[in-house]
């Protein structure tokens, strides 16, 4: 199959970017979207051009490293998948496909389709852990946890940190990402001792990083590859009030 890619090219953060059009043939429907970009890059090398920088690693939807805006949607036309899980069979022969990096002030562009998501790491560093050293653990059965709580924690712990929630949000809010980690740890008994400081520190860091505020449009939950619900944000807000009152 043949498609026309309109792809964002930008040498680095300090220069202006632009869209460049590539007519690509020789694709097959079984190819993943990223394999189509691989294919395009190989043809670029052969005509002495620089390859398009884009990120990916596991290519099975779990590492969270890939992620681009495709035809105006984070991770492309389907809900709840990563870019690496998108296949060319989702497009028609002759389609024009517009590919851009995540757009958010907190995610500066590094090059072409690659952005810097280290703001997420810094939010995690502000308390998304249990302060217990290796070697100090009690017997695992000493902490019984109901199946319901464990499953609920797992629902949000599934976040892959790809940033699609931020990219999909008109305010570029990181509320879904931040809430997922807070709700994972704060509802488990292991996370209780630090629940308030964790929440307040992480939210403060989220604001420092210049993410926007959440206005509950739910655009994030539509795209989230881990299917994290916007309820997670409501739960974080409830916990926030509790932390402010009792923290």
């Amino acid at each position: 199959m043949n498609v026309i890619f309109k792809i964002w090219r930008q040498e680095h953060a300090a220069v202006e970017g632009y869209f460049k059009t590539y007519e690509v043939d020789g694709l097959t429907e079984d190819m993943s979207f990223l394999e189509a970009l691989d294919h395009l890059n190989e043809t670029l090398v052969l005509i002495n051009e620089k390859v398009i920088a884009f990120e990916s690693d596991c290519r099975e939807g779990i590492c969270g490293q890939c992620g681009v805006f495709i035809n105006g949607r984070a991770h492309g036309p389907h809900q709840h998948i990563t870019t690496c899980q998108l296949h060319m069979r989702s497009f028609k022969d002759g389609d024009t496909i517009v590919v851009e990096p995540w757009r958010a002030e907190a995610f500066p562009i590094v090059k072409d389709l690659v952005v810097d998501r280290s703001a997420f790491d810094r939010i995690i560093q502000q308390g998304a852990y249990i302060t217990a050293k290796t070697g100090t653990a009690p017997e695992a059965y000493a902490i019984p946890i109901s199946k319901e709580i464990s499953e609920r924690a797992m629902d949000v712990a599934a976040c892959i940190g790809c940033g699609a929630c931020v990219a999909a949000c008109k305010n570029a809010s990181a509320a879904l990402f931040t809430s997922a980690k807070i709700n994972h740890l704060n509802q488990l008994p292991q996370g209780r001792p630090e629940e308030h400081s964790r929440l307040l520190d992480m939210v403060a860091q989220m604001e420092l990083e210049n993410f926007g505020s959440c206005t509950f449009t739910a655009a994030c939950e539509v795209e989230c590859p881990a299917e994290i619900s916007i309820n997670s944000i409501a739960e974080m807000n409830a916990r926030y009030i509790k932390a402010k009152l009792f923290g």
Binding site: T28, K50, V51, D57, G64, D121, Q125, G135, Y141, A157
Partner: protein
């Protein structure tokens, strides 16, 4: 140099305790004077970096990804083993030790393997404490399932995302120590060489992948936690960035490489569908708890799965291995699949697959139970193939997966270079010639959290009074300029073929000659072919872009250059080992029933290779079995 594994004195169950009781310690005030480099941020790397920092050392941790959280441990699906005996089904440290040793076809050290089983139970305690949401029963206790090669349920799991949950726990702990300013995290940095001063590892040269800048990093010890090298086959279950460059550079600097040809082919990956494919997606082995594997009895059967009646289906694993059935170990399940596919019974588009069928499990347990157990795997399968596996069987196929081989390490996880350690998948330690399912997360975590932080002090104690070279030491300058020269050389070739094109060619040779089954003539031919690929690569590869910018093509080229050399060693190793054991199946050495024929009289040793100016010299670490008598490894 002689190979001293430094196995401690005492009975098997006392060795680790005896080691800890007698190794050198460093007092807390002195630990903060010592710097340690950790390369890699997966379960081994992040676990080690966080734990070493908690102990008071200064740590610099490197990863090539944009964040430590993405290391490929994240992709392990099924679970992590531990000898907790929570299921009351006869499990014990001894049984787990025996299963692992047997699973590896008696090609690993007793003392290492025992330690792995011994430390497994406290590791589960550790991860529960760190907030890992393991699967639970309604009463609040932990749930277990079973994996290949064992008859008990000792696998702990978090849906089909166990690796993700464990690596996120390690990343949390790492983040804690970054906040405490005890770890400096260097994401998007790829280590391109190791620096030795007076024979000891004293630092690394790394490239900042965002800017292309080459930097020098000095330390008192260097820990490699760089994962597996099965991407040498190109098509594998590994992440596309996984590479063997750091361990290969270490090998060329004098670190011995053990059992390089021991690589595991996983039986349940999604089949290849096109030439452009960049990777193969794994479907967790846990699916074999409830799924049944079959092919049509009739050759070249063109019918759809649902049209093939029960009596015309060949459940070949249940037929050949009645006591383990669908849970036969990976090497055996992969070979059995290959045997059926080669005999013309393969299914799927390219006839390169077998069925994994949940029909009976859904009838027996209901769709809800199957969905709860494997829901995300079924979703993933549907996303990639467009097929709903609740209604028709999955098609699966063997794929290159884990590397049991790696840098040779002693009981302390130190390589043959003093001060250079290798932990996790990049070493050769506990798995022998075949790794059991759910032992990978276990080994990598234990190396990082429990073993290395208790052994590195034994070496570092001697470094306290030593001179601390600066980054301007002539040896650092020399290695840095070698790295720059290599990059320049690769860019200057500017030939006519892409890096991926060479990688596909290499992968094809390796998959045909050095994967599930090997033979003398094929391996000899492969070595010649790979040497030709190497020559052609350096004459005709083409990399565009510059050295001093983000250049993903250059990154791939540097990794492939090392894979090509490693592939030669893998074939050399497979050729030298005139026996079949575990994942290493030499066609010349098999029983009448087509099972691996091991030769303990001549090959009860680990092949340990020394790099010698482009050639390789063999050393042998003889394995002594004091507590377990090696038997024929049967799963019938």
């Amino acid at each position: 140099m002689t190979l001293d594994a430094k196995i401690p004195e005492g009975k098997l169950e006392d060795k680790w305790k005896n080691y800890q009781a007698t190794s050198n310690l460093i007092n807390p005030a002195n630990r903060k004077k010592l710097n340690i480099i950790v390369v890699g941020s997966g379960l081994a790397g992040a676990g080690a970096a966080a734990t070493l920092a908690e102990l008071g050392y200064n740590v610099q941790c490197f990863c090539y990804q944009d964040s430590a959280r993405r290391a490929h441990s994240v992709a392990a699906q099924g679970g992590i083993n531990a000898a907790k005996n929570y299921q009351h089904d006869g499990d014990s440290v001894w049984r787990m030790f025996y299963d692992t040793l047997k699973g590896g076809d008696f090609r690993s050290r007793e003392a290492n393997t025992y330690r792995l089983a011994e430390l497994s139970a406290p590791l589960i305690d550790h991860f529960v404490q760190q907030g890992v949401p393991f699967a639970r029963e309604y009463g609040g206790v932990l749930e277990n399932r079973s994996f290949g090669g064992v008859q008990v349920k000792r696998t702990f799991y978090a849906r089909g995302q166990t690796g993700q949950q464990l690596v996120l726990a390690a990343y949390s702990q790492l983040s804690k120590m970054i906040r405490a300013k005890k770890v400096e995290m260097l994401a998007r940095h790829e280590v391109l060489d190791i620096v030795l001063i007076e024979g000891k590892a004293k630092g690394v040269i790394a490239r900042d992948l965002a800017t292309g800048e080459i930097k020098r990093f000095v330390a008192d010890a260097v820990v490699l936690a760089t994962g597996g090298y099965s991407r040498v086959f190109r098509l594998s279950t590994l992440a596309v960035g996984c590479n063997g460059s750091a361990i290969w550079k270490a090998h060329k600097k004098g670190a011995y490489f053990a059992a390089p040809s021991f690589t595991q082919i996983h039986p349940t990956a999604l089949p290849q569908t096109s030439k452009a494919q960049s990777k193969l997606t794994l479907m967790s082995e846990s699916l074999r708890n409830d799924g049944r594997i079959w092919v049509p009895k009739r050759k070249d059967d063109g019918r759809k799965a649902k049209d093939i009646p029960e009596e015309e289906r060949d459940y070949y694993l249940e037929r050949r291995y009645p006591s383990f059935g669908n849970l036969a170990p990976r090497d055996i399940a992969s070979r059995a699949a290959k045997e059926r596919i080669d005999a013309g019974h393969g299914v799927g588009q390219l006839k390169n697959a077998v069925y994994l069928d949940f029909k009976h499990a859904i009838e027996r347990l209901g769709k809800d139970t199957i969905e709860e157990r494997y829901g995300n795997l079924f979703n993933m399968y549907e996303k990639i193939t467009g097929i709903d596996a609740y209604h028709e069987p999955m098609t699966i196929s063997p794929a290159a997966h884990f590397s049991m081989g790696g840098l040779w390490v002693d009981y302390e996880l130190m390589t043959s270079i003093p001060g250079l350690y290798a932990i996790g998948e990049c070493n050769y330690s506990d798995h022998g010639a075949n790794r059991l399912g759910a032992n990978s997360l276990l080994q990598t975590s234990i190396d990082g959290y429990f073993i290395l932080p208790n052994t590195i002090n034994n070496y570092l104690a001697g470094e306290l009074g030593a001179k601390h070279p600066g980054a301007d030491h002539p040896e650092f300058m020399k290695v840095e300029s070698e790295v720059r020269d290599l990059i320049k050389k690769i860019l200057e070739v500017y030939g006519h073929r892409t890096v991926d094109d060479f990688h596909r060619e290499l992968g094809k040779v390796m998959w045909h000659e050095c994967a599930m089954s090997r033979n003398k003539a094929g391996l000899e031919k492969a070595i010649v072919q790979i040497k030709n690929i190497k020559t052609e690569f350096w004459k005709n590869v083409k990399v565009t872009g510059q050295a001093n910018e983000m250049n993903t093509e250059l990154e791939k080229a540097l990794r492939l250059a090392d894979f090509i050399e490693l592939a030669i060693l893998m074939c050399t190793d497979a050729l030298q080992r005139d026996e079949s054991c575990g994942a290493h199946f030499r066609e010349e050495y098999q029983t009448n029933e087509g099972e691996a024929l091991r030769n303990d009289d001549d090959f009860a040793y680990v092949s340990v290779w020394e790099y010698n100016k482009g050639d390789f010299k063999l050393h042998k670490e003889f394995l002594e079995f004091e507590y377990v008598q090696p038997t024929v490894r049967s799963y019938k």
